[in-house]
Symmetry: C2
Subunit: 337 residues, 2 copies
């Protein structure tokens, strides 16, 4: 099955291949009769324009890259990525772009080499990097290369790369106030260390500032973004002799792990200790007890990320705009706190 080309269509319709091109691109000044004949030929021959030829000629790119970063295999099972990618695709498609997906891995920025090669070869026009943990060094590399980039769920401490995040600080402030209003006076936050990126940093700083402002005891328990880390952290907190009365988790996966540990240790939640999460993923409803958490508008964040990237690509980016766009979060009260 050899595919029809523009010239085949032209021959069939009895016009020049140019005219066919004009019809396809809705040029003015095509006689309705000609147009009809051409369209009929296109249908007859089942003609579809060759994407590579079009791209080559127009030197225009209609593909965006959605890059997921995870320095551990664990990260890939984070359920929020599905929702994010679906929203990317829907938004990009609606604007005439397709999405290519890449996985970034490893500790050193060499993992980015393939991305740059693809970008320089015009395989995509810009990238949204999805990751709470993308190292700053990688961002500097990306920024230095000039690849149009938008960070998702992670801000650039250098303030160079545009990003879409949620109001982590405001959310933590609200969460701390909520716990205090329910009588909690000794708060522990389970969160990754600094090297896990600004999402962690901001959540932690929001927590610290709010706890100080409220005048309650508080502490930090470190661990990566996984359910297992939440489990281990809770176990350490509980067997350490100095038990908190509320355990705030940096995300819902950690929250699910903490609840699991509590159950194993025979700790009643929320009677003996309150537990909260951060994200509001599907299973936050289905943990036992169900998980009180902050809802992040992941779908909206994803659509905004694509719009900002396209804004840069198509040159409509407001020049003076803030690099980071922070979307509001909402507290979802369930059983665990």
């Amino acid at each position: 099955m050899t595919r029809a080309t523009l010239r085949d269509v032209a021959a069939q319709a009895g016009v020049s291949h140019q005219t066919v091109s004009n019809v396809l691109n809705d040029h003015p000044s095509i006689r309705p009769a000609t147009r009809e004949r051409v369209l009929a030929a296109i249908r007859d021959l089942d003609y579809h324009p060759n994407a590579a030829a079009k791209a080559l000629r127009e030197s225009r790119v209609t593909t965006l890259c959605c890059a997921f970063y995870g320095h551990a295999a664990d990260d890939i099972s984070d359920p929020y990525r599905n929702l994010v990618q679906s929203a990317f695709i829907a938004e990009a498609n609606a604007r005439g772009y397709s999405i290519t997906t890449a996985m970034l891995q490893g500790e050193r920025p060499e993992g980015l080499g393939a991305l740059r090669t693809a970008y320089m070869g015009r395989s995509f026009g810009g990238v949204v990097v999805v990751s709470t943990t993308l190292p700053v060094e990688w961002m500097r590399t990306l920024a230095g290369w000039g690849i149009p980039t938008v960070l998702f769920d992670r801000a650039d401490p250098d303030g160079v790369l545009p990003s879409v995040t949620a109001d982590y600080v405001g959310g933590m402030t609200e969460l701390v106030a909520y716990h205090v209003s329910r009588g909690r006076r000794d708060l522990a936050l389970v969160i990754p260390g600094d090297d896990f990126g600004s999402s962690a940093v901001l959540r932690r700083e929001g927590f610290l500032a709010a706890a100080r402002a409220q005048g309650v005891r508080h502490r930090i328990e470190a661990g990566p973004w996984t359910a297992e880390a939440g489990e281990l952290a809770f176990r350490r907190l509980w067997t350490g002799g100095d038990r908190p009365d509320a355990v705030l988790c940096g995300n819902d996966r950690m929250g699910a792990g903490a609840l699991y540990a509590a159950r194993q240790l025979g700790v009643r939640v929320p009677e003996e200790v309150a537990v909260s999460g951060f994200d509001d993923f599907e299973f936050a409803r289905y943990t036992a007890p169900s998980l009180t958490t902050l809802h992040l508008p992941h779908g909206e964040m994803a659509r905004l990320a694509v719009r900002r990237l396209l804004g840069r690509l198509e040159g409509q980016g407001s020049p003076g705009e803030a690099p980071d766009h922070r979307l509001p979060v909402t507290l979802v009260q369930r059983e665990s706190a």
Copy 2:
């Protein structure tokens, strides 16, 4: 910043553009000295070959499409898709292909039109469709169009399209035997109806045959693949007056929902009723009680799907091979059954 082309490199190195091409494609008969000079020029000018031009000239496609189908927005949050896509990308990249991701939606096959346009325009060479629920009509459409297609987690009842699935029937047989060996004598299976595809059909048929063979009471409770459906189904089973002593769920999301309903109704699991899932996703460990389930080798299935698709594309497909490749599953015993 205007990108360097092959001719720029040639000029810089003082050779013809053909020689540069030959160096890039590792042609024999290039003098080492020339090669060095060319490579130096490439480095100097930061040259990267244009993907569109290469693709146009070679009329070769180096992109595969990973298409997710979900007739409801719910489907997109199924956590197993992350793992599957990561494995796709890793396998495809290792073989020199990139992945473009598409979302298929809606009830009617018109949603496939964009896919066909992209395929005919050589935007990708073949597609893996990820879905337990892709309607047969869509498969017939895809098969009729001749797009190289591999189904993931869903077999083609017509036996036309190749697929990669797990041993649903064997798994259900093992699961039923397990429940019976633990003294259960009245089994209910929560599973979608026929219109949700062969994954559901096979799981149901495996269940029915095994339950009959074991000589125990059994019944089916219908509902889609979501946690909410599992919740509602359990509620119906429990308040219906004729309670089973084991509830088998078609996937882990449904299992999580069923456990949630049990907890709300004050039903003790596994004492009063056993509950099991199917998939073994990350949170199966973290439900309360933790979920006994069947582990599906999703990563391996994904890699196999890509290999089969590339086999077809690169013409190495064994002609007489069975359309469906079924991978083995393993029982994971936890607390709920």
